[in-house]
């Protein structure tokens, strides 16, 4: 059980700044995701929290105790790596009991703990098997059991499902999440897979180039992205952008796209120059009476829904429509954008303009 707080954490490797100045809070018992593309600094951040890397500057608090300069062994956390490293020469039981035996725990107590943990993970049946013959899933469960058995304050996981195939990953993701729901231990989880982050996380930090782009609950990040990077990284398909040159004013409720006015949530700041109107696929509707128009360039059937790519004078859009709706490549269509859900971005900086709709999520500061 632990609350973890990161303040202005920074890491430089020579000239390269891996993490710029990260700050966020992980509440006790949260399943917390560090999400971003490769090279964004998420793993470095996790390794600093674990004590495997020393920060250049900044502070890390675990349960209000500053630990940034402490050794990993003094932090009482457990780390699960992408490549689950088991001891290949001993059996499953010995792999799991090792951390306890090395702490000098009494034999009877070790047996009890191992039994309990293997019951939680459903691996009682393989305790006496050598680890070399195990399936990928069982190896993963053994690695988890070894992390859990110590009852650490927090679990740190670095892409633990990265090496598994899609179907099995989904299965293990559910297993991990329900394990967390039963145990309630603070878990910090690194992934580059946005769906995994959305599915499993209570909160997400989105990182890019060593910078925290946004921090919050999954639905807020999806609905009200702070930057164009976040908007583009989250969602499948991701948010589409209509790019235009223009100016908007504080209090404005529309933007001009090639002479056509499109309603947006009331803006609370001015901006001019290159701008972008961001819209999620499910908020685009085909409507013959709409004045903003485009042409269908591709359709993709997905069962209940279809993804329709539409070319417009301001860039391509992807719309998620019901499969019942007939669409053909080449069709000219009117586009109605759900005005309550739109975000206007400063395309130069990539930052979302604050509006009445996203004010609560993005706030100030």
């Amino acid at each position: 059980m632990a609350r973890i707080e990161i303040r202005n954490l920074r890491k430089e490797f020579g000239d390269f700044t891996a993490v710029q100045s990260s700050s966020f809070v992980i509440e006790d018992g949260e399943f917390f995701m560090l999400l971003g593309p490769s090279g964004c600094g998420k793993t470095t951040t996790l390794r600093m929290m674990a004590g495997l890397e020393l920060p250049t500057s900044g502070e890390i608090f675990i349960d209000n105790q500053e630990v940034s300069q402490k050794r990993a062994s003094e932090r009482d956390i457990a780390f699960v790596f992408q490549m689950f490293a088991l001891y290949p020469h001993v059996n499953v039981r010995k792999n799991i009991s090792y951390p306890l035996v090395s702490q000098g725990m009494k034999r009877s107590q070790v047996t009890e703990r191992v039994a309990e943990v293997s019951r939680i993970l459903g691996i009682e049946g393989i305790l006496d098997r050598p680890v070399s013959g195990l399936s990928g899933g069982d190896r993963q469960r053994v690695a988890l059991a070894r992390a859990i058995v110590r009852e650490p304050k927090a679990f740190f996981m670095d892409e633990p499902l990265g090496a598994l195939d899609a179907e099995f990953r989904e299965h293990m993701a559910h297993e991990l999440r329900s394990l967390h729901d039963r145990m309630g231990a603070t878990t910090v989880y690194v992934t580059h897979d946005q769906l995994e982050a959305m599915q499993m996380g209570d909160k997400i930090v989105v990182m890019n180039h060593g910078v925290v782009e946004q921090f919050g609950v999954p639905q807020d990040i999806y609905d009200w992205p702070a930057t164009m990077f976040v908007a583009d990284f989250i969602g499948s398909p991701s948010m589409s952008f209509l790019r235009f040159e223009g100016a908007v004013e504080q209090g404005g409720t529309s933007v001009e796209l090639g002479g056509i006015s499109v309603e947006v949530p009331r803006l609370l700041e001015d901006a001019q120059g290159p701008l972008a109107l961001g819209v999620r696929p499910e908020h685009i509707h085909f409507d013959d009476t709409a004045t903003y128009r485009g042409q269908v360039i591709a359709t993709e059937y997905l069962g209940t829904t279809q993804i329709v790519s539409v070319d417009t004078p301001h860039g391509a859009l992807k719309a998620r429509l019901s499969s019942e709706q007939p669409t053909r490549v080449g069709d000219a269509v009117g586009l109605r954008l759900d005005k309550r859900t739109l975000t206007v971005f400063d395309a130069g900086s990539g930052r979302a303009l604050i509006s009445e709709a996203n004010r609560e999520v993005l706030g100030h500061g």
Partner: protein, 253 residues
């Protein structure tokens, strides 16, 4: 043929790899046409800036695009592709799905494509053949396979989240001989019927999945992204458009 494991000529550049099939003495392709074709294909696959790189000095995704490109330059009448996109990252995969489909539609060539990825099968194909242990169990347009599966196996191949399978007796109204009821997540009406409890609410942004415990069975359904429901809440559900299957797993129509 495009393989899952790209095999490029490691000592040649990207351009030379792409040119190679056209330089066959049998084809006698004029030089300027070779150049044009290579450039076109490289542009479509977004590797035009890497044409002079050694084939080994590329990322995995780029190598795979070169190997797709090498098949495309020849304009054959049949393309055979074995999971060509599975080693690419999600974003690029989504883009190349559309590109490959466009290339196929434009050239009119036949494309036989092997995949385990149902999204690729649904979005790209004119027809899907579902294979089960070496037997072709269903063949038809993706929509037909999705909306009218012949068996439990075919029904579980397509659809994300996967179709819910429960004993037919869980709901009233099963036809005679039905052992299993199959309910796609979107074929569950909420707010009427019998009660189940919410185990977990999974918010994916564009949709929210509800994991329900219904008479001791697990059911996954989709609901409004901003649903106020939370774990522990009770919700009434009723099937709509259910599929029924017999003891052997075959569809009962």
């Amino acid at each position: 043929m495009v393989f899952q494991q790209y095999s490029l000529y490691p000592h040649l550049t990207v351009r030379q790899n792409l040119e190679f099939p056209l330089k066959s003495p049998l084809l006698r392709t004029p030089k300027d046409e070779i150049e044009r074709k290579v450039r076109d294909v490289a542009e479509v696959l977004r590797i035009d800036h890497k044409l002079d790189n050694k084939a080994t000095a590329l990322s995995g995704g780029e190598m795979q695009r070169v190997s797709i490109g090498r098949a495309l330059v020849r304009n054959p009448s049949i393309y055979l592709m074995d999971e060509p996109l599975s080693s690419l990252d999600a974003k690029l995969r989504a883009e190349l799905r559309i590109e490959l489909k466009r290339i196929q539609a434009q050239s009119g060539a036949t494309l036989l494509y092997v995949t385990h990825d149902q999204v690729e099968a649904m979005t790209m194909a004119t027809h899907v053949g579902v294979l089960d242990h070496g037997r072709l169990v269903q063949f038809g347009p993706p929509r037909e396979v999705y909306e009218n599966p012949v068996s439990i196996y075919a029904a579980t191949r397509l659809g994300q989240p996967r179709i819910n399978l429960l004993p037919a007796s869980v709901f009233a109204g099963a036809p005679e001989g039905a052992r299993t009821i199959g309910l796609r997540p979107e074929h569950i009406v909420q707010g009427e019927g019998e009660e189940g409890s919410v185990v977990r609410v999974e918010r994916l942004g564009d949709q929210t999945r509800l994991h329900l415990d219904f008479k001791q069975h697990q059911i996954i359904t989709v609901t409004d992204p901003h649903t106020p429901l939370k774990a522990g809440d009770m919700v009434q559900i009723r099937p709509r458009n259910a599929y029924y299957f017999d003891a052997a797993g075959a569809r009962i129509v």
